[in-house]
């Protein structure tokens, strides 16, 4: 299990049975064994020989432009294909979409609660109202939602309140007023957008190792021109992986607005050293392990994403209850 991030401009070559990334500093050899994914976060040139080699080794290639914009993914042809699983997944979309969507929204709320409870316990009493809402009112509201649009409204409400709570515990220079996407307009939005994109692409890599069809999603509409199941399954991991990492980087002064963001772009995007610090922090979060309460094994957060895929597969194949990953219960 490994991820290689390429942060600078250069050329990627196949060299015998290995990879070589050439940039202005010279040759950087990338051993192919143990690599599952390569992220190109700046202009990288390569040829079909590289693509073919990656494909043979089942390596996924994620491409980004220089401005943290996600361009797309090269995805080797499917390893796992099960006609039965696809048919069942479509049936689940028709028959159980709302149930799955509700489980995901509840999962988001539970994990946000767990993340914020830490700050509440350390004296941020202002969070109590939001925490109570997450535990009592929100689940009731969700329970009474009848269609997907109501469920999505509740989800949006959770995130809106979550973003509003940041001013309680985040360092002042990072607090923002509202969430702005494409393009982000301040450092915190930049971290959130970039972090979410990395999580989304990591989730794709995990779903690739299951029999789920990436296109058939439940909370998000499958009509979105993306692998929308990744959006679904990554949702409950946002508080756990992306936000916990951001809060840590910001509050422990690992990232600063002056040093790690690009001044030319009004501090709206990470610069190269900022990207490096943030990606390293994210990567160590993905690799952090915990004792899984039902598997009784040490599991990394990255694996936990794949296991949520298994849970969904089990739900659609044999109707096992689908409860996405819970940070509190560690399962």
């Amino acid at each position: 299990m490994g991820t290689k991030y390429i942060l600078s401009k250069g050329e990627l070559h196949r060299q015998d049975n290995s990879l070589n990334f050439k940039n202005s500093n010279g040759n950087n050899y990338i051993p192919i064994e143990g690599i599952d994914e390569i992220y190109c976060l700046d202009e990288v040139s390569f040829n079909t020989k590289v693509i073919d080699f990656l494909s043979k080794n089942n390596i996924i290639l994620h491409l980004f432009n220089h401005y943290e914009g996600y361009s797309g993914t090269f995805y080797p042809r499917e390893k796992y294909m099960s006609g039965k699983a696809v048919i069942k997944q479509v049936e689940a979309f028709n028959e159980k979409r709302e149930l799955i969507a509700k489980a995901i929204v509840l999962g988001i709320a539970n994990n946000i609660h767990e993340v914020l409870y830490h700050y509440y316990r350390h004296g941020k009493e202002e969070l109590k109202e939001f925490l109570d809402w997450l535990k009592d009112e929100m689940p009731k509201k969700l329970e009474n939602s009848n269609d997907i649009s109501e469920i999505l409204l509740t989800e949006a409400d959770i995130w809106y309140r979550f973003y509003n709570s940041f001013s309680v515990f985040l360092r002042e220079d990072f607090v923002f007023n509202k969430r702005v996407k494409r393009p982000p307009d301040n450092p915190l939005n930049a971290l959130i957008s970039f972090g979410n994109t990395i999580l989304y692409t990591k989730t794709m890599g995990q779903i690739y190792q299951t029999h789920l069809d990436q296109r058939i999603s439940f909370l998000h509409s499958p009509q979105e021109r993306r692998f929308s199941l990744s959006l679904d399954l990554s949702e409950v991991f946002k508080p756990v992986i992306v936000f916990k990492t951001i809060f840590d980087c910001v509050n422990n002064r690992k990232l600063s607005v002056e040093k790690h963001f690009d001044k030319n772009l009004n501090y709206c995007l990470l610069n190269e050293s900022g990207k490096k610090i943030f990606l390293e922090a994210l990567e160590s979060k993905f690799n952090e392990t915990f004792k899984h309460t039902t598997l009784l094994r040490n599991v990394s957060y990255l694996k936990a994403i794949k296991y949520d895929g298994y849970k969904l597969l089990k739900y659609i194949l044999e109707d096992f209850e689908f409860n996405p990953f819970s940070l509190k219960e560690k399962k």
Partner: protein, 161 residues
């Protein structure tokens, strides 16, 4: 029943759930590494794999068909897999004896075992095949049988999650 393979027979004896999932092509990536080790050992030990219809014979030489296994973890499952190959060959008019080779022996006393397709084992095999047909036609997989052997299985995380 052309879609029944030796592996399906083996899995049916070992675990009905594993058999069902594998039949429906739900093959999860193995995390324990044991499957990888098994495959690597296989590659090293047999260079003459022969494919007939949908069966893959590790080795066919003289009067013997040999099936090579990493370990003797489930002797009976391996035995029926081999019996199935012998039966398939017999249907084509080729009468052979079977030899099971375990690269590691933990439970049984020797590495090589002679397996013969006789009337009673052929009957047993036929029963197994008809049971498999019923099993895989069910709309859902059979329940998990919680057992120590699960810990080493590629489906462990899927079953126990």
């Amino acid at each position: 029943m052309n879609n029944i393979t030796g592996t399906i027979i083996n899995y049916y004896i070992h675990c009905k759930r594993q058999c069902y999932l594998h039949y429906h092509r739900i093959n999860l990536e193995d995390e324990s590494g044991l499957v990888k080790i098994g495959k690597a050992l296989h590659e090293r030990h047999n260079t003459e794999e022969i494919e007939i219809d949908n069966i893959k014979l590790d080795k066919i030489k003289g009067e013997f068909v040999t099936e090579i296994k990493k370990s003797d973890a489930d002797f009976n499952a391996s035995r029926f897999q081999l019996l199935f190959y012998l039966k398939k060959l017999k249907e084509k008019g080729v009468i052979k004896k079977g030899r099971l080779t375990f690269l590691e022996k933990n439970k049984v006393d020797k590495k090589n075992h002679e397996i013969l397709l006789d009337d009673s084992s052929e009957k047993e095999l036929e029963d197994i095949i008809s049971e498999i047909k019923i099993l895989v036609s069910n709309s859902t997989p059979p329940a998990i049988e919680k057992n120590n052997k699960c810990k080493k299985c590629a489906y462990y995380a899927f079953c126990y999650i």
